[in-house]
C-alpha cells in the first residue's frame, strides 16, 4: 500500500509506542496522593518538561488535552469567554477563511450562540494571510477584539502562514493570538516563545504519537475559561484524569519529531518535489495548489481539471494508494473545500482536488506507485465527470 495521507494521521513512532505500552502497564492516577499516584504524576511532569523544551515553552505553559480539536476549542472559546468576562466590549473574534473546522466551526458557534462578531481575514491565491490585513482589522476594531486565531500551516494545501508577523501585529494591540500548529510541529521549526503567540495547539497523532492526546501551550498571562469542569487537573483550565500513558508517548513523539525535523524535512521535501515533478509530467494539466515554496515539506496538493476528487480517490484507493480529497465531510458527502474557495477557486476546481501528504515512513516506492496509477485514474475520472455536465 502507498500511504500518502500522513496529514490525516501518521504511524506512531516505535519509541512512542514502546513508551506508551510501558506506561500503560503501570497503575496510578496522577492526582492520587500515594506512591503509585506520585509515580504517574512524575511521568506526566517529565513529559510536560519534554514537550515544553521541544517547543520553546515553559512547563507551566503546557496544558495536556484530548487532542487538537479540544485544544482549538479551549483556546478560541476559552480566551474569548475570559476576555469578554473581563471587558464586555471585547466580543470580536478575528480568524482566517482557511482554518481547520476545529477553529472555523468554533468561531461560527461563538457567532451564533455567544453573540460574537467575527472578522474574517482573507488569503491570497496561495492561501497566505497578509499581516497588513490583520493590522487594518485591529486598527478598526482593536478594542473590541477578544482573540485572534490563525493557523501555522494549512492542513489542506500546506501553505505556511507568517505567524510571527501576525502575532507581532496582535501584540501591538495587546490582543491574544492563538495558532493551530497541528500540521506544523515536526515539519517546520516551531518555537512558542520566539513566535510571540499566546496560545498554540499541537496534537500527537500527526507527529508519531497517539491519537486522542495533545496540548494547548498557553502563556501564563493569558486567561482561558475552561470547557471541561471537574478536578481542575491542568492549571484549573482543563479537567479530567490525565492519560499518563498517552501523555508519555505524546512527549516522546514531540521530542523525536522536533529533534529530527531538519533532516526529516529535507528528505521528505525532496521526495515531495519528485512527486510534484512527476505528477505534472504524467498529467500536464494539473494545477498545483498552495504556496510553491513556503509550504509543508510533505504536502502536495493538486486540482485535476475535469475530474472529481472523490472519483479519483476511489480509483486510487482500488490501486492501494491512500490520499485525501482534503475537504470536510458533511453526512459523508464531500463538500467543496472552503480553503480552495477562499483561495479563489470555483466549485469545480475545489471538487477536483486531491491532497497527497508524505511522512516519516514514506519512500520512493510510494511516489512510484502513485505516478504509475494516476494517468489511467485521471482518464476514467474524467469520463465519469463528463456525465455530470448539464444535459
Amino acid at each position: 500500500m502507498a500511504y500518502l495521507d500522513h496529514a490525516a494521521t501518521t504511524p506512531m513512532l516505535d519509541e512512542a509506542l514502546e513508551a506508551y505500552v510501558a506506561a500503560a502497564r503501570e497503575v496510578g492516577n496522577a492526582s492520587s496522593l500515594h506512591a503509585a499516584g506520585r509515580r504517574a504524576r512524575r511521568r506526566v511532569e517529565e513529559s510536560r518538561e519534554r514537550v515544553a523544551a521541544a517547543l520553546g515553552a515553559r512547563p507551566s505553559e503546557v496544558i495536556f488535552t484530548g487532542g487538537g480539536t479540544e485544544s482549538d476549542n479551549l483556546a478560541v472559546k476559552g480566551i474569548f469567554w475570559a476576555r469578554r468576562a473581563a471587558s464586555p466590549a471585547r466580543r470580536r473574534v478575528v480568524s482566517s477563511a482557511v482554518e481547520h473546522h476545529a477553529v472555523l466551526d468554533t468561531v461560527d458557534w461563538l457567532a451564533e450562540r455567544e453573540g460574537a462578531e467575527v472578522g474574517w481575514l482573507p488569503v491570497d491565491a496561495a492561501g497566505r494571510l497578509d499581516p497588513e490585513a490583520l493590522r487594518a482589522e485591529l486598527a478598526d476594531h482593536g478594542d473590541a477584539v477578544a482573540v485572534v486565531t490563525a493557523m501555522w500551516a494549512n492542513n489542506e494545501v500546506g501553505t505556511l502562514q507568517p505567524v510571527a508577523a501576525l502575532a507581532a501585529v496582535a501584540a501591538e494591540h495587546g490582543v491574544p493570538f492563538h495558532t493551530d500548529a497541528i500540521q506544523a510541529v515536526g515539519q517546520v521549526p516551531v518555537d512558542f516563545a520566539a513566535s510571540g503567540v499566546s496560545a498554540l495547539t499541537v496534537t500527537g497523532h500527526k507527529l508519531g504519537g497517539p491519537a486522542g492526546v495533545g496540548a494547548l501551550l498557553l502563556a501564563r498571562d493569558v486567561a482561558a475559561t475552561p470547557l471541561l469542569h471537574g478536578g481542575g487537573q491542568e492549571r484549573d483550565v482543563r479537567s479530567g484524569t490525565l492519560d499518563t500513558a498517552g501523555i508519555v508517548a505524546f512527549a516522546v513523539a514531540v521530542e523525536a519529531a522536533v529533534k529530527g525535523q531538519q533532516e526529516y524535512a529535507a528528505r521528505v521535501a525532496a521526495l515531495r518535489d519528485d512527486l510534484v515533478r512527476r505528477v505534472r509530467h504524467a498529467v500536464p494539466e494539473v494545477v498545483f495548489n498552495g504556496d510553491p515554496d513556503d509550504r509543508l515539506p510533505g504536502n502536495a496538493h493538486f486540482s485535476f481539471p475535469g475530474c472529481e476528487g472523490d472519483a479519483l480517490l476511489l480509483l486510487l484507493d482500488a490501486q492501494g494508494i491512500a490520499c485525501s480529497t482534503g475537504s470536510a465531510c458533511s453526512a459523508g458527502v464531500a463538500q467543496p473545500s472552503h480553503v480552495l474557495i477562499a483561495m479563489g477557486a470555483d466549485d469545480d476546481r475545489a471538487r477536483s482536488s486531491l491532497r497527497f501528504s508524505l511522512g516519516h515512513t514514506s519512500g520512493q516506492a510510494d511516489v512510484d506507485a502513485l505516478v504509475a496509477a494516476l494517468p489511467a485514474a485521471v482518464e476514467r475520472a474524467r469520463r465519469a465527470a463528463a456525465l455530470r455536465a448539464p444535459r
Binding site: L315, D317, C329
Partner: protein, 357 residues
C-alpha cells in the same frame, strides 16, 4: 466482475452485497446521499439517506470487508425524482417515485458513473430475478416482489444489473443477514416515500404547490358536492378524505374518478364508474424478448402490489394499449402498466409503459 453495490443501509442491499462478494466479484459499496438535508429524510426509507442509514451501510461494508464510499446524488435526485414527483401530481397524475429513482438515479446516473469508473455492473437488493437469460422475473417472495418498479429498465440497463436476492424470501434474507453478523438483520422494512419524512404526502405537496381551493363535482349529476384545497392531493380511486358536503343522491360511496388540473376540479362517482377496460400508456420499454409487432396475450399489473389481470397488449409506435379481460378499478395516470408473461420459473417482465391520462 468489478461491481458496485448500492447500499442503502437496509438489510436487503447488505445481503445483496454479501452475495456478490461470495460469488467472487470484486465489490465496492456505495451509499447514495439523496437528501440535501439528511435530517429531513426518513430513516430506513428505501434507498435513502439519513445519517443513520449511511452509518448502517458503512458498517455492513466493514463486515463484508469491501471498500465503501458515499456518492452525492442529491441534486440529481431532487431534479429527477422529487421535482418530477411534485410536477406529476400538479399535472393530475400519480407518480411512483421508487420507479423513477430506479430509472433515473440507480440504473442511470449511478450506473453510468460506475461504468465510467471501470465497473461492470451495479448490484442492488431489489427483490426480483434476473438470470443468465437476461429476463427480469418476479421474486420468489410474491409479497416483496419489486419487478414492477424495475420494469422501466431498458435492455442496456438490465445488462449491467445484478439482483442477487430474487430467489430468496425476505425472511431468508433476514436470516442470512443475522448469520453473517450484519447488524441491519432486524432493521424494519421501509414502505413510505423516503423524501417525505412524516409520511404526509398531501402536506408535502401543499408545501410546494400551495393551496388551490377548488370544487369536487359528482360525475353523474354534475353537481358540486364539496370543495378541496388542491386537486393535486387526490389520486384516482381514492375514497377516504373526500369530505363531501352531502351524501350522493344514490346514497352510495363516492370515489375519485379523475383530476382535471386545468379547472382544478376533482370528479367523483360511484365505484363502477372507476372501472377501466382499456389502458393507454406512453414511452414503452420492452425487454422480455423481441418487441411484438402485433397484439399479444399476457398479464398486466397497473400499480405497485396491484392485482394482475389478463390482457391483450399491443405496441404501436410510442404507445402501448392494453385491453383488459376484466375491468379494473383505480387506474391512475402516471403509474406504470407492466406486462408479464406467466412462467413457473417466475413471471417474466415483458415490458412497461407510463399510463396516460
Amino acid at each position: 466482475m468489478r461491481v458496485l453495490a448500492a447500499m442503502s443501509g437496509g438489510v436487503d442491499s447488505a445481503v445483496a452485497a454479501a452475495r456478490a462478494v461470495e460469488a467472487g466479484h470484486d465489490v465496492t459499496g456505495v451509499h447514495l446521499a439523496l437528501a440535501r438535508n439528511p435530517q429531513t429524510y426518513r430513516t430506513g426509507a428505501r434507498g435513502c439517506c439519513t445519517l443513520e442509514d449511511s452509518r448502517d451501510a458503512r458498517r455492513a461494508a466493514d463486515v463484508l470487508g469491501i471498500p465503501f464510499y458515499v456518492w452525492d446524488m442529491a441534486d440529481r435526485f431532487h431534479a429527477d425524482v422529487v421535482d418530477d414527483f411534485v410536477a406529476e401530481y400538479a399535472a393530475g397524475r400519480t407518480p411512483n417515485p421508487c420507479l423513477r429513482c430506479n430509472e433515473k438515479i440507480k440504473f442511470a446516473a449511478v450506473l453510468d458513473r460506475a461504468v465510467a469508473l471501470g465497473f461492470d455492473a451495479v448490484v442492488t437488493g431489489h427483490h426480483a430475478r434476473l438470470g443468465p437469460d437476461g429476463l427480469l422475473r418476479r421474486s420468489v417472495d410474491a409479497a416483496k416482489d419489486q419487478s414492477y418498479v424495475l420494469a422501466v429498465l431498458t435492455r442496456a440497463q438490465l445488462d449491467r444489473s445484478v439482483f442477487p436476492l430474487g430467489d430468496s424470501t425476505k425472511a431468508q434474507v433476514r436470516e442470512e443477514a443475522a448469520r453473517r453478523g450484519l447488524a441491519v438483520a432486524d432493521k424494519p422494512d421501509s414502505h413510505d416515500i423516503c423524501f417525505i419524512a412524516d409520511g404526509d404526502t398531501r402536506g408535502f405537496l401543499a408545501g410546494r404547490l400551495g393551496e388551490a381551493p377548488g370544487q369536487v363535482v359528482d360525475a353523474l349529476t354534475g353537481a358540486v358536492v364539496g370543495s378541496h384545497t388542491g386537486a393535486y392531493a387526490y389520486t384516482v380511486g381514492q375514497r377516504r378524505g373526500l369530505h363531501l358536503d352531502r351524501p350522493a343522491p344514490d346514497g352510495r360511496p363516492r370515489y375519485v374518478l379523475s383530476i382535471t388540473p386545468k379547472t382544478n376540479t376533482v370528479t367523483v362517482g360511484p365505484a363502477e364508474a372507476l372501472e377501466v377496460s382499456t389502458v393507454r400508456a406512453d414511452r414503452p420499454v420492452w425487454t422480455g424478448g423481441e418487441r411484438p409487432d402485433g397484439p399479444i396475450e399476457c398479464e398486466v399489473q397497473l400499480r405497485a402490489h396491484g392485482d394482475v389481470v389478463p390482457a391483450t397488449v399491443e405496441l404501436t409506435g410510442d404507445t402501448l394499449r392494453a385491453e383488459l379481460r376484466r375491468p379494473v378499478r383505480g387506474v391512475a395516470a402516471g403509474q406504470a402498466v407492466v406486462a408479464y408473461r406467466p412462467d413457473p420459473a417466475g413471471d417474466v417482465v415483458l415490458g412497461s409503459a407510463t399510463i396516460a391520462g
